[in-house]
């Protein structure tokens, strides 16, 4: 894991003092709320329906036990005893007092964490693959590259007042676990014919009200050109991105309007100039960062045998444990989606426990996933039973990874001032309807994603089944989408037709899964069947 040096620490410490000063100016009345708003937003502090919400960055979703326990401490001391893990691999606290926000940032800085650029029209937290460094299908660990980008984008003087927010993802595996092509810039690390690592660059993806899959802009950018190339991408966007309409301001609209070809031409022209400016760090900097991500000291010669005689443990292993690149080790997923719970929520005690387990059993590492779950990336198979027992005791052993109850949901109208409809109660009702685990497992991989408004924080466009809450004449109404995917088979869901009320949408989801069961062929996932038969049989079942 990356460790701050004196420079990183001094920058984060200075930010704490800067924000403390800004809050003091606000509290003294020297700053109006209007003047304060852009400042607090750059620090992830939103004014929500009931209180301030603080979003803390978890760079590329990686953190250690000490950092995790600090998140638990913040939940306990400054919030109501819980936190909410988000689709951006971050954590949010929903009940924050403005006057305490600087103290929270100071606590975070003491464990090399911050809330820098977790909101605002700037480059946001860099996201990545939650299995990085543990997956057998990766060409390299993407996180050193993500850290290089974190540093480059932090307080970038030219790109802090972009037309709109800007999200970058870096992956390095054929399997896309980070929804890479649904980011403003997606980078897939690959090796060229000479065996050199570089980035394949996709620009202009995103969800929101106009979902787009990012087209490939450049097949290979070597490490030594990466920052120059990204500066060129951003500069073209900063120059031409629309500023007349907030809903058309994301880079996806620019790339779509001028076309990938013209955008690429302009980027190449800008890159030829930017490359002469000496903004790319030497190779030694990526090497320095990479050294922090060296594989942990895995034991060798371990057995891959597992005693699965405990049926509950067996279920959990089958559903939540993934293969590790290293023999004798496994990747353990902790579901934050118990039936009836709030997707992504964890109590302070649960957060502490996960930190402790990471320290004891996972080389002191955890990951936050964009599906709002937690990963212990490096667990000895021989320790899995002990880990499972501890999780089970804490209500953290729900064996539903990638099943229909492993729902992504935005905070919705229960918290968010932008929302048109509630997301959480719908997620809870669906999870309750499908509570029977055998039934869920029979349905297999089924990614269900719910957003409470058109901004799509709940990734409904990328759900095998997506649900979008809208406001229709003053009542909450839910539209159903089918066939989306945020994985390497990326696709955007299609709306089935007229929407439903809260109970109606649960019934509609059930009709969809029943239809799948009646039509599926051997080994087909829901989304495979949908792609083979199209939307019509589902529409007929729902509306016919």
């Amino acid at each position: 894991m990356y460790k701050y040096d004196q420079y990183d620490q001094s920058i984060v410490d200075a930010r704490v003092e800067e924000f403390r000063d800004q809050v003091n100016r606000r509290l003294s009345g020297a700053l109006s709320e209007d003047q304060f708003k852009p400042l607090r937003l750059m620090n992830g502090l939103y004014l929500q329906l009931h209180a301030y919400m603080l979003r803390v960055a978890v760079p590329y979703g990686t953190l250690d036990g000490r950092q995790m326990r600090m998140l638990g401490h913040i939940a306990r001391k400054y919030d109501r005893g819980y936190g909410h893990f988000t689709t951006r691999q971050n954590i949010q606290y929903n009940w924050i007092k403005l006057e305490e926000a600087p103290d929270i940032l100071a606590d975070l800085a003491s464990v090399e964490m911050h809330a820098i650029q977790t909101s605002g029209n700037c480059i946001r937290n860099i996201s990545s693959d939650q299995y990085a460094g543990a997956a057998s299908d990766e060409v390299t660990d993407p996180r050193p590259w993500a850290e290089l980008l974190r540093q480059w984008s932090t307080f970038h003087p030219e790109f802090s007042y972009l037309p709109r927010k800007f999200k970058i993802a870096v992956i390095a595996a054929a399997e896309d676990r980070a929804a890479m092509r649904l980011h403003d810039i997606g980078i897939e690390l690959v090796r060229n014919e000479a065996g050199t690592l570089g980035g394949k660059i996709f620009v202009g993806g995103g969800m929101g009200r106009t979902p787009m899959i990012a087209p490939e802009i450049k097949d290979f950018v070597p490490a030594e050109d990466l920052l120059s190339y990204l500066e060129a991408c951003l500069r073209v966007y900063n120059r031409h991105g629309r500023r007349d309409n907030i809903y058309k301001a994301r880079i996806k609209i620019l790339v779509h309007e001028i076309g990938a070809e013209d955008y690429r031409r302009q980027v190449e022209e800008e890159f030829a100039h930017v490359k002469t400016l000496g903004i790319d760090p030497p190779a030694a900097e990526l090497e320095r960062i990479t050294a922090f991500f060296a594989p942990p000291a895995f034991a060798t010669g371990l057995s891959d045998e597992l005693d699965l005689s405990d049926p509950d443990f067996r279920l959990w292993v089958q559903q939540n444990v993934a293969a590790h690149a290293q023999p004798g080790y496994a990747i353990a997923n902790i579901s934050l989606k118990p039936v009836g719970g709030i997707p992504g929520d964890a109590t302070a005690d649960q957060i502490d426990l996960m930190g402790d387990l990471a320290e004891r059993y996972s080389f002191d590492e955890l990951r936050v996933t964009h599906a709002q779950n937690i990963v212990l990336p490096h667990v000895r198979k021989a320790d899995l039973y002990a880990v499972w027992q501890a999780l089970d005791e804490a209500g953290l052993a729900t064996p539903n990874l990638d099943l229909i109850s492993d729902i992504i949901a935005c905070p919705g109208l229960d918290y968010c001032s932008l929302a048109n409809a509630r997301s959480i109660p719908v997620a809870q009702k669906i999870a309750e309807r499908f509570a029977d685990l055998d039934r869920q497992r029979d349905l297999g991989e089924l990614k269900l994603k719910i957003s409470g408004c058109i901004n799509a924080c709940g990734h409904h466009h990328a759900g095998h089944i997506g649900i979008l809450g809208v406001d229709r004449k003053g009542t909450e109404n839910y539209q159903l989408l089918l066939g989306g995917s945020g994985a390497e088979d990326v696709s955007l869901g299609k709306i089935t037709g007229p929407g439903f009320d809260e109970d109606g949408i649960v019934d509609a989801v059930e009709k969809v899964t029943d239809t799948y069961k009646s039509l599926r062929q051997d080994g087909e996932r829901f989304v495979d069947t949908y792609r083979r038969v199209g939307i019509e049989p589902f529409k007929e079942a729902i509306y016919g």
Binding site: S10, E158, F159, Y161, H273
Partner: protein, 141 residues
């Protein structure tokens, strides 16, 4: 509006800035004002005779002027580069890094707050249009 806040050693340029169109039509103007939607690259052939480029910020959210400033500095422009309009005190540090060296904010800034915010950060992560050495350079020489 009083004198602009200047970080230059020479006196502020007196000639009023003309629009980009007017500047491109006149052979002798030495001051020009760029609106956010105007392309700074149009000025690159004329940098030798320019003494002041004023970049307009009608709203603080519109960040096009940051790129415009860098483009001019990257091309070697040495004259005064002024940010005019809705310029907030907490933006001055980024603007300085992009090459602005004078400021004419619509609402006056508290000089003490300007000074404090410019002194806040000892280190930066990236190279820009100023002389600040990025931390990767400090790390590797």
């Amino acid at each position: 509006m009083g004198d602009p806040l200047s970080f230059r050693t020479d006196a502020a340029h007196e000639e009023p800035a003309v629009t980009l169109d007017a500047f491109l039509d006149q052979s002798n103007a030495t001051s020009v004002r760029l609106e956010p939607d105007e392309d700074a690259r149009a000025l690159l052939p004329y940098l030798d005779r320019l003494a002041l480029v004023e970049i307009a910020f009608p709203g603080y959210r519109d960040g096009r002027g940051y790129s415009a400033a860098r483009i001019l500095r990257e091309a070697g422009y040495q004259g005064e580069l002024r940010a005019q309009g809705d310029v907030l005190v907490d933006q001055i540090a980024f603007m300085r890094r992009c090459g602005f060296d004078s400021f004419a904010p619509e609402k006056p800034l508290d000089p003490a707050v300007v000074e404090a915010s410019l002194a806040r950060y000892d280190h930066v992560y990236q190279r820009a249009a100023d002389a600040t050495v990025p931390v990767w350079k400090l790390r590797h020489g």
